[in-house]
Each structure stands twice: as C-alpha cells, then as structure tokens.
Symmetry: none
Subunit: 449 residues, 2 copies
C-alpha cells in the first residue's frame, strides 16, 4: 500500500547511523550481530559483515524461518485479513539503534537488538518485545511508568563434573571457592559496560547455584538488561570453561523473581507508596488484577513442565489445590509486597521461573495490572491474612490446566493480542505431548538453550 | 509501630559509613559480603557490588529463605501476636558496622557481619548472635561482663591423602614438616588482620591434627572471632589445596574448649579471683549453675551425633553413666578451674565440640551461669574431690536423651527463649531420624559445611 519512493528518514536517524559507523571505524568492529528474542527468551540472530551495516540498518535483515509449528486443524486464523499467508514467511529484523553495543566478550563484534516485522514493515503481533512496548505505551498514556527488575537463580557448572544423581540436601554454603572470582569480576564489569547493573549475587542452595538480582530500571530497559544478561552470562561462562544454565531438573532451582512498582509518568514519585506501612489504593487495584488473572499469567511465567513443581514444593501430599496468595513480606506467597531495603514499596511476583522470557513476564504483569486499574478490581482480605486461609484464586498445578486457564481469560488474551496467545498455547501443548519419553533429551537441549 | 520518616541518623553512623566508603575506595574493594550465622555456625551471605554499599548499609539486605523447618502440628506459636506470618517471610540483614573487614584471602572483597531482623526491624528471636547479645545485656545490667575464648581441635587434610584407619599412638610431635609453614603464616597473619587473635597453636595428637586456642575477648567479640576463624580457615585452606575440617569421625578429635571468667561491668577486676588459690563465692554459684544444667547445655555444646562419644572416651566398659565433674587444674573434669598462666582465674568447659555454634556456646553458658547467681545454687563438695567420687550430675550419652533433658529444663528454655529452643529441638530430631542410613552422605556434607 505504501509507495517505495525515498522514505522520509528523519534527519536524526541518519546522524545516529553516522555516529555508529564512526564508532565502528574507531573501534575496528568487523561484525554486527542483529538479534531478536524468541518465545523462550533465547536470542536468534544473523551476523553481518560491518561493511553492509548501513544498508541493513535502513532496510532491516530478512530472517526466514519458522517459529511456530502449526496444529493440524485450520479453524484458527479468522481475525487477520485474507492474503498474508500463514506460517512460513520471511520477517524483517528492524534494529533499535539505542541498543547498539560492542560486546566486551567477543572480539571485533558488536550487537543490536531488533524488532521482528513482516516484510511490509508491519510489526509482528507474536513478538514478545513488541507486545511489551505496546503495553508500556498504554501505561505511558495513562500517566504511569513501571520501575522493575528481575532476579535469576542459575547454575554454574564446570564442564565435566556434576554431583551424582540422587541426593537429599541441607541448605547450602558461602564459599564459592576462590578461583571463580576472576570470572565474576569479568561478568560484573562486562555487564556494567553493557548497561546491565547487578544489584547483588549470592550463592543459592546447592553447589554452583547462584542467585543474581539486577538493579531496577524504567520501561523496556529492565527487560533488555535481563535479555542481555542471559545471553552474556552463557557466552562468558563458555570463555572460562563453565556452563551457565537457567534450566531445571530436580535438585536444582531456577526461580526467577520479578519485582516491580508503579510510578508517575516521568519517574519522580512512586504510586505504591503511602505514609503508613500499607499498599496504596491504586496498588491494591493493581494487585487485585494480578490475583484475578494469576491462573492465566502463571503459565506465561513458568512455561516449563519441570519448573512448575516448585509451586508445589511445600505441600506434602500432592492432590490438594494451590492458591495464589498475597501477603506483605511473606516469601511463601505468590505476590509479596515489600516496603524495605531502601527501595520504594514494590510487589515481588514469585510465580516465575528463570526460564521465562523476560519480555513476556513484563507483558503479562502489565496486562493483569492494567486490568486491575481499569475495572477497579479488589480482593476482600487484608494483606496480613495467613496464606493458608486465602483460597479465592486457584492456580492449576499441571501446565495443561494452566493453558486452559489462559485460554478462558478474555482480558489477558485481549491485552496480549489474539495471535500471540494462540501461538503460545499451541506451542506448549506440543511440548507436553512429546515430553514423557525423553528425559534424557532435555539434558542436551540445555546445550542449545 | 515505629514511624518511617527520615530518621535523624546519628551523626556518627553516617560518618562511620563515610569512613568505610573511603576505605572501599582506597583499597579498591569491589564486593562486600553481608553475612549472618545459621544454627550450625556456618555463615550465610549475600554479595553486593561495592557501589551499592551505602544504600544497603542504611536499609539492610533482604534475604529470603528458610531457616527453620516447621514441625507437623501447629500448636506452637501462641506467644507472638497475630499478624506476622509464619515461616517464609523475608528478613533483613542489618549490618553491624564494627565488624567491617577486608578479607585478606579473597581479592577485592570485604565482609560485614549482620543481625537478621524482620522487615519491620524487629530482631529475630531464633538467631543465635542476637540471643547471645541479649544475655550479655542482662549480664551488663547486673554489673558483670564476660571474658571468654574458644579452643579448637581441627584437622588439616591435604586433598587426596588420609592416614590409614587403625593405629596406636605416642603423644605427638614438634615439626609440622616444613612446607606447611607458609600456610600457617598466612592463616595467623590473615586472622590478625581480621581481629582474630590466635593465642597459640600446637599440633595435637595424630598427623595433621592441630589445636588452636584463641585469645580471650570481652562480650560478643569472642564469638565473632570464633565465627570468623571458622569461615576463614576453610577458605584459606582451600587456597593451599587443603581441607580444614571441624568434623569428627573416629580416629580424629574435634574437642572445642570454652574457657570463660566473670568480670565487673567495665572489665577491671575479675570476680572469680580470691587471694588464696580458690574460686570466689560468686564463682561457685556460677559453677553450680553450670553443673545443675550440664545435662541440658551439653546438647547445645556437642550437637553432633558422632561427637558425643568423646565424652565417653576415658572409661573402659560402655554401660555406666557419665557425670558432670569439676576440679581445679584437672583436665579430666567436665569443668576445670584454672588459676595460672598469667590469666585470671577462669573456668574451662570441656563438654563442647568444635562443631558447636560459638554463639550458642556463649549463650548456653550465660544462661546456666546466670541461673546459678540468681538462685544461689551450690554444690556440696570441694574442688579437690577426685572426679570418680562426683556422681551428682548425670549427663546423658545419647543425643536424644540430651534433647529431653533440654526440653525439661525450664530455666534454660526461659533464658534462650521459647522459639529458639523448640526450633533447635525440632531440628536435631530431624537429623536423628534421617541419620542411620547415610554414613556416606555426611562425608560430603563436609563439603558444604
């Protein structure tokens, strides 16, 4: 529909590209990696020799392959209009210039994060980063901004030594032995140059287990940092002959906490904060939104089969239901309101795992919270009720039940967009069907995550 | 209950933080480790990049995980009031600035010992360091202070060589062979920088066995030193490819002596001292307190299953009872009164093992001693009676009997606080139940202690 004459490139765009070409010349960059995230928060990219950068920055990089495998029946795609076909078309990676950085762990290489669009420039409705940016735009228009950060539990494995299969544990230890320290120095300073700010790390439960929490940032930067951190720590671990893994099998945890708080438009005051020790009015609505949709968003935040049963870790016999609980300063609740530690009041959401895609985590939280604010949702008990008496919002244990809960939740589907949700559900069902008979395969899947 | 307005932090607090930030800048510290002790005297910590130190020092470091495992029935928590919930809340590590030190064995890293509190700033009733500080406060109010120190027997194992199982020994030797000397230099000088004052070390009975005794200190410093010493010697041993172990299996000893004496409030005169060669009046009461509660406190001081049977080392046939004995200058008694060696009169308590948590050792001693003073307890024989005629205070051999003795001892429970004792007992029962069928597991537990 649009002509192909010389598009009106804004003046500043050209000068930004010029600056970057200068930087490429000055620091002798030879390759630029155009990367985008996929459903699992793993980055997919194409590497281009630096002398084609100008051209690729203007027209984008074509990328050709499948993301979704489609189900057999074809009653699905009524909403979009008729003639852009279905699954196996090319898309374009359109780079976002503000994320151009030179990789401190790979020589002569730089990277830029891209948004996938169709070949006509229409942004793809199934790309998590885009959905997150749209929901942030809505938030911006309502005069709010989100201040958020992620915390990851991951496992540093030295290649070639694993603790034997069956074990029961006491809680763990202080002493990363000494000769990991150079790696940690490199990791943290390297990240700092990439704009990723590590708040604290401790060794979590079990050998080589680490818990790393990032400093909170405004808007999309929080997710970009997490995304960068995930890619970086894997490649850097490799340089030191380690394996960094966010995956879980029994005996290792991969909790992924998402703590966030709502601020005004240009980031001066926090809207969760009240004088006394309680959550503000608008906070309760936001929290009510999270609670009402906790069944649906739980499968967006813990999308792995193996990683749901830490939801059920604390309860003995396996048959009774799990409920979304909230409390203040209570780590056994799904939603934990915190007032301390020098940060403004914020909500920590513990439904997640380190395997979730940070953009989806961000989008799901926004979708639920906004619904809470628009429809003035509420929950009728106070924050101090013991979690064991909060039985209003059930969370399904099995992934497939969680997928149904997602399928029935109109609000979340509306916020995230129809095509993304269908694709997500189809995708996970497929995993579930092919899953029992290959515990072994997943292990080396790790190699590819 | 306390307001959250900008409290006028005392001028000295800010300046102390300022000094430390200076020291961080001067010595190029990159990480600060906030650590607290757990029930076993093993330290738990979070590491924070140094540029966030100021903020963490003011608001504390949140730490999220379980310390107590709860029993099945729920009739336990009647005492505290209604709305702080149960097990899985966050706590804050509030740093105690006077323990800030730069670790001489880890590059660019410093540490600070913290007290765990709830998020509202209420100190946690199950933390050993806090209990010790409260009991010291009582002592302070009664116009007394405690001058104490610990002595550890531990075993230096070179990775990969153990002396064979059965052997009969003469007493030991002078010359740790020459090439351990650098490690010992480092250990002792390193400790000195950390405020830990080693009084003397000798090689104890058996190869690689070492006996290290610390210089006595007033109040909590004695326990802090011991705590630091335990963490330090493990990490430093690692740098020299040794394994330092306080654990015991047969053929190795891990006695842990605790010698203490009572002084007046601001530490000028020792209240155990009399002109002649005897224990003062107030000393006998203190000692009587120890004797009356020796059954209960013995399980606080030798909390490992394997480490109780050195209580029964000296007696041939195994079936007769063990009694708490006292004497003067007699190393075969449980409580040994000493007048010599340039130190004031003090009591050496040999019920302990190196495995005990030094804060609990301190607290247990205080609880028993104070009871002796408050209720004027006495024992009717003199210090010179042969130990074999002292049969008044029996000590149970098995751990579970010792736990009952603790459960029935009102005084100790009152002094240490109800929640701590219940938690301690529940904890040890759990160990005992899961204990027979895994001798092997304990070995590598070592790896995590």
């Amino acid at each position: 529909e649009s002509t192909s004459g010389e598009s009106h490139a804004p003046q500043s765009f050209i000068s930004v590209v010029e600056q970057i070409k200068q930087q490429i010349a000055r620091e002798d960059v030879k390759f630029v990696r155009f990367e985008a995230t996929d459903l699992h928060g793993v980055s997919r990219s194409k590497i281009v020799p630096a002398r084609f950068f100008h051209e690729k920055a203007v027209y984008g990089v074509p990328m050709p392959r499948a993301y979704l495998e489609l189900t057999l029946s074809s009653k699905v795609n009524e909403v979009d209009n008729a003639n852009v076909a279905n699954f196996s078309s090319d898309i374009l990676l359109i780079p976002d210039m503000s994320t151009f950085k030179i990789l401190p762990w790979a020589n002569h290489t730089a990277r830029v994060i891209c948004d996938p669009c169709s070949v006509t420039g229409v942004p793809l409705r199934t790309s998590p980063r885009l959905i997150a940016k749209q929901l942030l735009a809505q938030l911006q228009n309502m005069g709010f901004s989100l201040h958020s950060s992620l915390t990851y539990e991951c496992c540093l494995l030295g290649l070639g030594e694993r603790v034997g299969p069956k074990a029961v544990f006491f809680p763990a230890t202080t002493l990363l032995s000494n000769n990991d320290l150079p790696f940690l120095h490199q990791l943290i300073t390297g990240m700092y140059y990439m704009g990723v700010d590590v708040d604290s790390f401790a060794s979590a439960s079990g050998p080589g287990q680490m818990e790393i929490s990032l400093k909170p940032k405004f808007g999309i930067d929080a997710a970009d940092s997490a995304f960068t951190f995930r890619t970086g720590i894997k490649e850097m671990a490799r340089k030191y002959n380690y394996l960094a893994s966010f995956y879980t099998d029994d005996g290792m945890y991969n909790a992924g906490g998402f703590s966030h708080s709502l601020w005004d438009a240009n980031g001066r005051r926090s809207l969760f904060h009240t004088g006394g020790g309680d959550l503000s009015e608008i906070g309760r609505k936001w929290l009510a939104g999270l609670l009402h949709h906790s069944a649906a968003i739980s499968c967006l935040m813990a999308p792995g089969v193996g990683c749901r049963n830490q939801l059920t870790k604390g309860v003995k016999d396996q048959k009774r239901a799990v409920f979304a609980t909230c409390g203040s300063n209570d780590n056994s609740c799904a939603f934990n309101v915190k007032f301390h530690g020098g940060r403004e009041t914020h909500i920590e959401n513990k439904l997640g795992s380190a395997m979730a895609n940070p953009y989806i985590v961000l989008a799901a939280t926004l979708a639920a919270g906004l619904d809470g604010i628009k429809h003035n949702l509420s929950f009728e008990y106070s924050l101090n009720r013991a979690p064991s008496q909060q039985k209003q919002f059930a969370i399904p244990e099995k992934l497939e039940c969680a997928l149904e809960a997602l399928a029935e939740d109109k609000v979340i589907r509306g916020a995230l967009g129809e095509p993304f949700v269908q694709y997500f559900i189809a995708m996970k069902k497929f995993e579930i069907e092919t899953q029992e008979l290959d515990a072994e395969r997943n292990k080396s899947l790790e190699y590819f995550i």
